[in-house]
Symmetry: C2
Subunit: 335 residues, 2 copies
């Protein structure tokens, strides 16, 4: 519930009051000798580790609509989509930085909800908010997050390591987020499960780290642009082709029910993004180990296809068993 | 000159073409094992150093207007204001990350100019662009930069180290940027010198590093919010007061000429921000060493006042020699 208390607006709190309010909610962390409140944060990364960094912008009416998500979920998602990039390298997430540009209709309660969501997601990952930037916006709500993680230099999993014949796996279920978005765009209210999958994705940090410890993944990426698009990034950087068997794709029962009634929407599931599951490539001789990891984490890890030679390009076997060549395209901000 | 070539727009180039175009302009760097093009960049920071991180958002019509700055200068400034935060800790700048949300009227030439400016500023600092994020914007041009630097843990200069009786110094000239902004807002075209000071500030990295090597600075901050506001941040974190003698402030001849005709505008110079000079506090017994450093760097380092006990608060001696208490307030995004 939004309070209409006149004291509850950001101009009373002020820029530095706002920063102070966020700072008070952050727990101390021995790897952060200087946190919020100086020109830079100072942080310590483990010895013999490389630093992993990713940053993502989330802009109102481009990446999200405030009518489709709560501020709490938006806070969680803003952290989660960044944490997912660290998961995709197999790293541990350590430190986050948050920049926000706030329109005048955002009040202190909105910001509190957002911050609570952001910090809950940081806590779940064992990571600390260390700094950022706040200002006003004359237009949309703008969120800019930077995440820093770390990994032993020789353990890093890149997009470029896929080997011919590797099994291609995805974690969890794919297509839920894209279906939720399509329903929201069509003025249909998605069920609770689907809206949660779209608004509050789960970064697969534990999976990424376990794959690294067991040296199971030759290449890895998180599903942000869409299954085919993200597989396309691996193909490009690993100089390989791929075959995906759509009959094997892991769909939630909610998505499966929807596809039973609307079979053509499988394209939305394949092309849509924002599942933030991990796609990884593994030696087929190690399928048993992947299966054991799946059991241990209680997370489906589904074999959906195989890496092929480069001239094979991208082919798929559709739900009727027909094989055809496809384009590895997903969401492109400028098309 | 802007080309009207129809092929020159961003939708032809596409999101990944755009990223590839930027990637090709970045020189290789042995401290960047994974640069632009994976889920995270992987970077190496020197052993026994802490990582310094800062991030700043620059939003059209909040922080800049495209009619007041060239895209090249905007690129330089976007990097410079971030680099300045590393300078203010005494650190070395290593790696930058650039997020941009581009309105549809930005074309490939604009973006090329912007990127050239950004990379020129990185080169001047010896730093490398390692990654980022690009998307479209339905509203303003949005620029989000993260800078990472490093420093030996025991050498870091914080805002909290000022000692009673310390001399307060500022580098270069203060107030030029605020005067340029006031003129632009009043539809007056600033002279070339002033516009350059506003649109293309110089991060004082060499000064910050030299102060650290000689252990000359007890506390330091860069002038982004305004002289009194930034000194206020040091007072708050060092639990001290300060006296500033306005008769000693280092003004450029351009600003001095303006103040001769408009003496009241000294308030603009004192309250305005964005000079990106360094303000630091040093033991008065080491004034000779500060003077030698100033000569060596060919950069004015001007003694403008002294640190006092906390109950002294902030006082100034005005240009007529009268002493009075002042508020340590500068620009506040939410007031």
């Amino acid at each position: 519930m939004k309070s209409n208390d006149k004291n509850n607006n950001l101009s009373n709190l002020g820029e530095f009051g706002l920063i102070e309010q966020i700072r008070r909610q952050v727990k101390s962390d021995s790897t952060v000798p200087v946190g919020i409140g100086d020109d830079c944060a100072a942080t310590i990364i483990p010895e013999d580790h490389v630093l992993l960094t990713s940053k993502d912008l989330l802009i109102e009416d481009v990446h999200f609509r405030r009518s489709w998500t709560s501020m709490y979920q938006l806070g969680r998602k803003s952290a989660a989509v960044n944490l997912s990039d660290v998961a995709a390298m197999g790293g541990r997430a350590n430190h986050l930085f948050l920049g926000v540009a706030l329109p005048i209709d955002i009040d202190a309660t909105d910001l509190e909800d957002f911050t609570r969501g952001f910090l809950d997601e940081c806590s779940a990952a064992g990571a600390t908010l260390c700094g950022g930037d706040t200002c006003r916006s004359n237009g949309p709500l703008i969120i800019s997050v930077t995440v820093q993680g770390s990994i032993a230099a020789n353990q890093m999993v890149k997009r470029s390591g896929a080997q011919i014949d590797d099994d291609i796996y995805v974690s969890g279920f794919v297509g839920d987020s894209a279906l939720a978005l399509a329903q929201l765009q069509g003025d249909i209210t998605p069920c609770d499960y689907l809206i949660l999958r779209h608004n509050q994705p789960t970064p697969r940090l534990e999976l990424g780290q376990q794959l690294v410890q067991r040296q199971l993944a030759n290449a890895m990426i998180d599903l942000s642009d869409g299954l085919f698009a993200d597989l396309g990034h691996i193909m490009e950087q690993s100089h390989c082709g791929a075959l995906v068997d759509c009959r094997c794709l892991p769909f939630s029962s909610e998505l499966r029910q929807h596809l039973d009634r609307n079979p053509a929407d499988i394209e939305t599931a394949l092309r849509g993004g924002e599942d933030y599951e991990l796609l990884f490539c593994a030696d087929p001789n190690r399928a048993d180990e992947v299966a054991r990891l799946s059991q241990q984490l209680n997370l489906p890890l589904t074999h959906i296809g195989n890496i092929k030679a480069q001239d094979y390009s991208l082919q798929r076997i559709d739900i009727n068993g027909n094989q055809q060549q496809v384009e590895a395209q997903g969401f492109n901000h400028f098309k």
